[in-house]
Symmetry: C2
Subunit: 666 residues, 2 copies
């Protein structure tokens, strides 16, 4: 099986560029595809609030209710804000595009840095929490938490390298399964509570908290920390505004309706689970997640609990999968703008950006290893990137409305005209001021949340993001500067080729005289240019033999012998080539080398690949051109089927470079 066949088997048929355009989806599938990120956060956000409140003791757990309500308010503002973005940017309004369009490249790079960090953490947090869900029922799995998480990432990575088609439709069912299970749980639980039949959560493993008596500032600080942890619930609501073009027309309208569904379901589930958890007396625990505690109290331990937890795990894996589509797409956008290595713009054979997929998987795996797959330890790094991008996106929108208003007052924008910007089109809009106020309010709220998050989580991990973000932006700028410089140097504006010729000296590198050498000679001869052979005498004793064989078997062309007193393969060649270049200033030295190809990577290791060593050694000489003539070993195998006896004559000597008894050193 060749490499190409292997790749085809593993990654499937390639998709044509235009096939991606035809893969548009309706609202039902759209919700499944884009909502998994936001809905799945229900599986950990409530539990994380409780874990912070644990410091205050059980009598204060009721505080989780007002905190949950406050976060629901935040969600409403965000949803209305993003609804406006969807209509303003019908071809996709991620924070990167909105920031670039309204604040320019620098702000876009800040958004890019925030989003890339966000995507990596989405994978790390979602996968870690996914393992937690199922390990809540089978505690033995906690011992293998990191290993399971890494295997899941590997699985998602392979799925994504195969292509995006499956990542869309195959994962549609699980979203509804999760939503169904959660609504069933909340409905049943609340009904039982109404009829006084809801039990109390007991025997939660790993609950052992030191209760502190906090007052004043410390108390408020703790509440804000709990609020910060809970805000992870709203992460992911921006996903739909990123992917508007994936929807069937009318794209913006369908996307906006899907966003409403998404937000409504999220709020119902987040509030419902929060209230139900409080009523059932759920405990803060890193060993049993909130859903597990509630489910076994409502249903009793058993199958229904298992199915509920399994659906949570699956949707969390899907949420991670969302990042696997978003990260490479954003990286490609940034690379296209020249702020990330150009390789990110490569499309894999199935329309995915393989480079980005692999990088994302590597970083997320690293985070899981470093933080041992603990959601509570990952959270402080998580939401800050999200809220920075929210703020940039919302304030960018506000600025856009302000611009619309100004242009309208200046009479440049009328109901009959439109003004295109870099990323979209400005239309006349009577309600621009209300819209500006809404997006502006969203920006203020999300920036306040970002600051609260930064302050309350600074020591427990947010500082990492504070260092990382400016570094990333600096790095993007460095890359951009490099590409600009290369473009300037390569630019040939105004210059034309005038048919100039420079002297070329063609040299065949001769290690030994055998069938591979014959092929080099044949190629140089076929090319029809003058040439000579050069043999580097690493082994003095073999020089006469090589010269004799050259005379006997090649017969034409000069063979230059370069002595190598240091037994170095590269040094004599380097000296020789440099001398020739000095004698022919401005000329080319054209080295023709053989490359033995054994046909299998393992046996290829047994051959020296001298061409790599030589190319590296000559890399600081200007004007050295190298030509590689491959020698496919297996295609010549039939020529000497039963010639096993005669090998003593020839090439085995090539292997006996070290003569045993002469090699002693002290």
């Amino acid at each position: 099986m060749t490499l190409r066949q292997l790749r085809h088997w593993a990654f499937g048929r390639a998709l044509r560029t235009r096939e991606s355009v035809h893969q548009t989806i309706g609202k039902t599938v759209g919700l499944a595809v884009f909502a998994s990120d936001s809905l799945s956060s229900v599986a950990y956000a409530g539990g994380e609030i409780l874990l912070i409140l644990a410091v205050l003791g059980a009598t204060y757990y009721w505080l989780s209710i007002p905190i949950t309500v406050a976060i629901s308010g935040l969600l409403i503002i965000l949803t209305l804000s993003y609804r406006q973005t969807i209509f303003a940017y019908p071809s996709g309004g991620g924070a990167y595009i909105v920031a670039r369009d309204n604040f320019g490249e620098q702000a876009a790079q800040v958004a890019g840095a925030a989003l890339l960090v966000d995507y990596i953490l989405t994978v790390a947090v979602s996968i870690s929490s996914g393992v937690d869900q199922i390990a809540s029922m089978f505690p033995v799995l906690f011992n293998y938490k990191v290993q399971i998480a890494l295997l899941l990432i590997l699985f998602i990575t392979l799925m994504n390298l195969r292509g995006v088609k499956e990542s869309g439709r195959v994962f549609a069912v699980p979203t509804y399964w999760f939503v169904g299970m959660m609504l069933l749980l909340i409905g049943t639980g609340l009904a039982k509570a109404v009829f006084g039949q809801l039990g109390t959560v007991t025997d939660v493993p790993g609950v052992d908290h030191t209760v502190e008596n906090l007052t004043g500032f410390a108390f408020v600080f703790l509440l804000l920390r709990a609020f910060s942890s809970g805000t992870t619930a709203v992460t992911g609501v921006e996903a739909i505004s990123n992917g508007i073009t994936a929807f069937k027309p009318p794209k913006s309208r369908n996307a906006a309706i899907t966003l409403m569904w998404d937000a409504s379901l999220l709020m119902i589930m987040f509030l419902g689970l929060g209230v139900l958890g409080y009523l059932a007396g759920a405990q803060p625990s890193e060993q049993e997640v909130l859903i597990s505690q509630v489910a076994r109290t409502v249903y009793g331990e058993g199958l229904l609990q298992f199915i509920t937890l399994l659906s949570a795990m699956v949707i969390l894996i899907m949420a991670a999968n969302t990042s696997f589509a978003d990260f490479p797409r954003l990286a490609a956008l940034q690379a296209g703008d020249g702020f990330l290595p150009r390789q990110f713009t490569f499309r894999g054979s199935r329309l995915v950006f393989s480079w980005g997929v692999i990088l994302l998987a590597a970083f997320a795996s690293l985070l899981i290893i470093v933080f041992q797959g603990s959601v509570s330890r990952l959270i402080p790094l998580y939401a800050i990137g999200v809220f920075i991008s929210f703020t940039l996106s919302q304030s960018g929108m506000a600025r856009r409305w302000l611009k619309t208003g100004r242009l309208m007052y200046a009479g440049k924008l009328t109901p009959e005209t439109e003004i295109p910007t870099l990323g979209s089109i400005l239309h006349y809009d009577r309600h621009w001021m209300w819209k500006m106020l809404l997006n502006g309010f969203g920006a203020v709220i999300t920036s306040i949340v970002a600051i609260i998050f930064l302050v309350t989580k600074f020591l427990s991990g947010a500082w990492i993001v504070v260092i990382l973000m400016p570094f990333l932006v600096w790095l993007f700028d460095q890359i951009h500067g490099h590409y600009k410089r290369v473009a300037t140097i390569l630019s040939t504006a105004g210059e034309t080729f005038r048919g100039q010729q420079r002297p070329v000296e063609t040299i065949i590198l001769v290690g030994d005289v055998h069938r591979e050498t014959m092929r080099l000679v044949e190629f140089a001869n076929s090319l029809g240019v003058p040439w000579k052979g050069v043999h580097i005498a690493v082994n003095e004793e073999r020089v006469a033999e090589v010269q004799r064989k050259w005379q006997e078997r090649v017969g034409i062309g000069e063979l230059v012998i370069l002595r190598s007193p240091y037994r170095s393969l590269t040094r004599p060649l380097y000296t020789y080539v440099r001398k020739r270049l000095r004698q022919n200033p401005g000329g080319y030295i054209h080295l023709v080398m053989g490359e033995l190809r054994t046909g299998s990577p393992l046996s290829q290791l047994l051959h020296q690949n001298a061409h790599i060593i030589e190319q590296l050694a000559l890399s600081d000489l200007d004007g050295v051109v190298t030509t590689l003539v491959p020698f496919p070993l297996e295609k010549y195998a039939h020529l000497s089927p039963d010639a096993h006896e005669e090998h003593h004559d020839d090439a085995v000597q090539e292997t006996v470079i070290v003569a045993g008894q002469k090699e002693e050193e002290s």
Copy 2:
């Protein structure tokens, strides 16, 4: 600083091939160089005996004395045996050469496998024990044992990559320092014991053994285990017979005398430390080595104890260093015989086989990580390889004497004649029978020790070697088979070049039309062969632009456009080249590609190196020759010093492959 300058700075000046011959040494330096391996084992062998006896309890510690005496007897037999090898193989008589000479290649490969494993373990055990010595005085170092050990290996590796000259003389002083300190310690200690002033070892850290009441078979088994652990003391005595050629003439005589010194010193130190340790009541401990216990009892805690332990650590590091000379030399021998990859025969720029050095360091580091640098856990893997090679070497010698005797009886070997073998020369020898009996006895004893070792240490680690050794021998045979096959295929015996020519089609790969493209065109034009350009249209929108620029700026030569509906860089080229090859059967397709060289490895990462991708993609097509024309970016930088404004015109467009709004996928 270029790569070559960096290497020169780090690894120093290269040595000429013949310089190695002049580096011969006298007996004094010879002892220092070759004896470190054998003498250093004193630092752990005695302690390891005690650690096994710990199971029996303190009342049985006296058993260490008879065990030590038995091992000393083994040492005497080995020394006399190897003395004969030194005279029989004046150009070096390692187990590999002796086995190859007397039993043939298969036995030599078994010896080779045993020795390679032995060298790796010598490094791992010596370095681990070296850290133990100094950590016995500063227990805090135990926490960083693995890290310190790895740093030491890194240090030795760098020293060896610089060259062997330093590894010889610089390390001469420490051997005598260690011998001096040990003799002082044993002398002072025994004198104190005679005058009744020797104290008792107290406060040994980490002593907490469960004492078992063993009888009968279990008791004997345990004694044999203790004996096995102690036999590590004799490892390294073969080193001198490996390195005879390093000595000043008369080589064999000087080497033999050095061997006698080595063995005598080893016996005095091993017995002396064993007896003194028993008299002082030394305790089995993994936290404080035997030398440390004895030294602080004889001298009291302080400077003298420190100097003694430091000398032990230094000689252990030197012992590891010995393997760094032996391993690459043996690997080069095996590679020269075609049983290991040919790369091992490469001499580094300072006459060392860099490949072997790096591999040895890697494996030894791995062992230290896996076994957490514990000498007791490494020992079961250690001596078995040593004793297998002892047995092969001694039985090979016995066979050699038998052959001498037979040839003498047949009248073919007389005092006036000599018969050369592969590795040495057979002489007439009246005492052949006595010599055969001595070597034969050595072979029997060492094979018994190997079996005892294997049986008593099987479960604690020797099984790894039992699996590893046959695998290595199998691997060597596979490699050998491959090289034989390649040699057969490459063999051109009887064939000559007849000036044949095949059609060559030269194609320039054109990504965009800029300064680098101009250079490709200039080279093809200079070569004076017919050519055409090929552009792979990854981005449909840019085709017209590329064609226009080609017309304007190149003006000559056809430019073929290959459509790429899948946006693949490689697929259209592959299809095109395959088609051309079919149309010109037996011809060459000659691809000319550019390689942008930025001059720094970091910024090089920002460029796609398309030539690697293309070469890989076309690797299964026979007849594709690739030419790489480097474009050294910095050498062209001066051409566009202040052209920063015009880059929008040209090459920046190259980076904008992804158009942002068109890239949305679900």
